[in-house]
Amino acid sequence: MSEIHFTPGSDIYKIQAEFYDGPFDLLLHLIRKNKMNIYEINITEITREYLSYLENSKGVNPAREGDFLMTASTLIYIKSRSLLPRPAILEEESPEKKLMETLIEYDKIQKISKLLKEMEGRELMLWKREDVKENFENSEFDLKEVSSFQLAEIFLNLLKREDGKEVLFLDSKNYSIEKKRKEILKILETEGFMNFNKYIENMDTSEEILVSFFTMLEMAKQKFIVAIQKAIFDTISVWKFDSGEIVQ
């Protein structure tokens, strides 16, 4: 249904980062710039240019200097081998072959990345309902509904922090989901909103937290409530979900 179109020539790598993220970005750039073929790289020329980039240490991601150097040594090694009489066919595990394969794979990754970038841009032009929140403050909003996966992470994390145990213990106390549901609804009705982390903070057993957690999970699934958090391990905010609209 959706068609993918690609605008050629947009080099997201240079525009975005202003430097080469990794050694293979730089290598691919040099190969393209010199109109070479991945399968037939002029190793002398490429090594020379590559090293001059490193020497200027401009346009190279400083956090990955080690990776750049590692690749430089590979290039120098390949170059030194090329001075020797060359075998007619590339050996199975030759450094040339390995470099070539890595470059081919990385080239694909770059292409897919460009495509995804293009698709992302297209989608960002279509604004969704309530994309703009919090009184027009000029900031990034990344609110999302909590998945069972994330809830579980938070839940487990809390348990761990609370009692330092790596196993979940259910004490045989009598906490029912029915009661919890009523309790949560009551809080939401009086306060309009609930901070789930605060809510479970004072509970003394893992079971109570577990039951609260499952109650919230199910209530969210049934669209009674909406649970939102800004980032993993951040506060979970809970609102009532009323006839399809979030009531705040």
Partner: protein, 194 residues
Amino acid sequence: MTEKKEPLFDDENEKIAFLESVLFVSKDPIEPERLIDYLGCRRIEDFEKLLRSFEKDLMDNNRGLFLKRSGGGLHLSTKPDMHEKLKDFFTIRRSSKLTIPSLETLSIVAYRQPVTLAEISDLRNVNSVGPVKNLLQKKLIKITGRKKVPGLPALYSTTHEFLLYFGLNDLSELPSLEELTEMFEDKEQPSLFD
């Protein structure tokens, strides 16, 4: 202060289209003043005329939205006569949901599996043969063995359907603590990007 290119609206229609999209994307009501300014309305009356025209469009039978003017400003909501149907539409799916005793039982099986009926009943402080039966019928749990104690009671575990119901692909999606530690609490990698 900053120079702002006045956007050009070709006509009233385009202004109404803009109004609709602004109100659609905004979570909060929008102050009329901001819109008046942005739409380049010279007089309040021009803006009022625009709003009335928009409201008239919304009154059509094939429209489901409604322009609300309240304290904070303007916002869109659904037409009141849609509310019953919306409630209906969004609740139909709930009919096949689990009862509370079943959910309690399920939570115990999920985290304690394999587990016996006696252990479940013990934790819930109530005989749980009903919910266990119910969950078996719904195929959310199944018998996966027998406990080597007198009477050889059945051991229950969650099923593939359980994973589907909770939108999980695998029980491993509820990650282990070790993994969480590794993934999220590890010393941050010195990366400039993420």
